[in-house]
Symmetry: C2
Subunit: 342 residues, 2 copies
DNA sequence: CTGAAAGCGCTTACAG
DNA sequence: CTGAAAGCGCTTACAG
């Protein structure tokens, strides 16, 4: 046996047939006699032949591969989206490969250079911030769908959760329990989701006739230590809130720790609510009440939208905003004693 | 402008030069006049040309891409390894792409089919269990390095942490604090790492003249709820342990919650120690004492080893076992009162 | 400094 | 049912 990996031509030679015949067998296409087919299959097996995807993609002008660009792998948030996208892709005979994104001005060029010719289109989670994004898309003709966009132009296909309504519902939940003084921890304010959640928080309070006390709004960064710090600051306020709404679950975990660290209990002394509903939200103690973002469904919807685009079909809508839902668990409860507002 | 993405030949035509010249410019190779080079560069820019990686890989018979197969994205454990491998790859002009692995009997075939021709080699984290693995490697000639192997044949290149010594050190730490009754929560026992950690725990106790009480060994699965359950079982023992050693950090988090849930405190009433030192270990409260597994370095070492193999160089060793280290934080302390052993 | 030819490993479109 | 030819978009190896 030669040193190099066997190619389709090697198999053809081995069987005394043409490359076309091997190709037909490989792709389960008709036009091959039963006996020939079996002979070829056998040769493929014994030689350990595996088609070269680069060559196949080149010949077909399509790879049947979707690229997914993710900013960060260190949270379950991404994992759920990937699961959804991967399973949706598989249902349409596509495979999914992941690229971790770099940042900076040239991020998009790099993504493009890395994926051109080896993917048919891209799913971009939380795209690197860049004003050039729409221009980039037009220029490169790169097919892509954004998940959790940053507020890019409306002609960029995108899938998000309804962050505004989700935040409104979180406030509704806390108010219905009797809370009147609700602290808020923001996400990174360079994301559209953070802005929408803050807006939902503010308008939620107003709708219930509660004023917005800006000292109750604390800056966060979507990370656990940030949530801890912000919650601690909130708890040290002259009049501390009876409930804390964190812009994501990971910060809510930090907030719960800050509450315990201050010698208080969740939810007896302070209620905590998060946003996302990552798997761990149901695993911590007390389990976390949170706004469920349909991450799996978002990944699946984005993959389906991209596949539609790749098929050359103009989708009826290219911006999907999936509904959220408050998942009530053990970290929220009525306040210890009703708070009087000035 | 035509409908399809511009190709190298389009650029050549646009500039009135041969494809070779464009290729030289693209690859920063000499043999092109300064003025010609600039003209080509300009055409590339305005046309938004990006090379087709599939075609390039085919022509070069190498892709300069490393594939990494990961079992699961939902833990920070993987994220650190990916970071290390990605940065090491970049230092050698390789890019890294990720594939999420499926399981089952044909897992390796699928990986092979998915990556052949679009990657030069594979980094496989915690390979799908399969007896065929070594055979698979030989048959396909696939270049690969395993990270955190399952005990495959010794001729499979692999990188792991020294799990046995790490567990020994964890026991040393607890014993030096005065603990005599130490509970242990295992990982999934189909992994080599779990077996080694359990062995280290047992032998660590023996070395200190402490007997191994098998009722103190509780089965776990590397997941947080599993850690919680196991710890609860340990705490309900007639004579509960004063310290709990969990086979990974995530289970240690669950164990800490079980301790608090039982109305006890960490570390005053029960010490908890983990394994891995994922980023979150330093972020929880109390921060987690744990055995640091050099995940970033493991990823980097695996990438470097693979790149060496790809260069056709026989490495001096193809099995690396990286050192671990106990990182002492706030979750361990001397036991409340010395425990008498029978 | 520049280019024509051949080839990487497949598939499409056409013959027979 | 089967195959010879051409091409996908690049690069290598050779000329000039």
């Amino acid at each position: 046996m030669s040193d190099h990996e066997p190619t389709l031509n090697d198999i053809a030679r081995l069987c005394g047939v043409s490359a076309m015949t091997v190709s037909r067998v490989l792709n389960d296409r008709p036009g091959v006699g039963q006996d020939t087919r079996e002979r070829v299959l056998e040769a493929i097996r014994t030689a350990g032949y595996v088609p070269n995807l680069g060559a196949r993609g080149l010949a077909r002008s399509r790879t049947q591969v979707l690229g997914m660009v993710v900013p960060d792998l260190s949270t379950q948030y991404i994992a759920e989206i990937v699961r959804g996208a991967g399973e949706a892709a598989a249902r349409h005979e596509y495979d999914l490969v992941l690229y971790t994104s770099t940042h900076g001005a040239r991020a998009f060029e790099r993504i493009n250079a890395l994926t051109r010719g080896v993917t048919d289109g891209l799913l971009i989670v939380l795209p690197p911030a860049s004003q050039e994004f729409p221009a980039f898309l037009q220029r490169t003709g790169q097919r892509c769908v954004v998940i959790d966009h940053r507020g890019e132009a409306r002609d960029v296909p995108a899938v998000t959760a309804d962050n505004y309504s989700g935040a409104r519902e979180a406030v509704d939940h806390l108010v219905s329990l009797g809370h009147r003084r609700i602290g808020f921890i923001t996400g990174r304010m360079d994301t559209h989701a953070s802005l929408e959640r803050l807006r939902g928080y503010r308008e939620g309070l107003l709708v219930h006739g509660l004023g917005v006390d800006e000292t109750l709004v604390c800056g966060g960064d979507f990370l656990q230590p940030g949530g801890f710090q912000a919650a601690r600051a909130l708890l040290e306020l002259p009049v501390a809130p009876t409930a804390i709404f964190a812009s994501n679950d990971v910060m809510a975990f930090g907030a719960m720790e800050a509450v315990k660290d201050a010698g208080l209990r969740v939810p007896v002394d302070v209620s905590v609510i998060g946003f996302d509903d990552i798997p761990m939200a149901s695993q911590v103690h007390p389990s976390l009440t949170t706004v469920r973002q349909p991450l799996y469904e978002m990944g699946a919807a984005a993959a389906n939208l991209l596949i539609t685009l790749l098929a050359g079909i103009a989708p009826s809508v290219n911006r999907l905003e999936l509904g959220t839902q408050v998942v009530v668990r053990r970290s929220t409860a009525p306040p210890r004693q009703p708070v009087d507002l000035p």
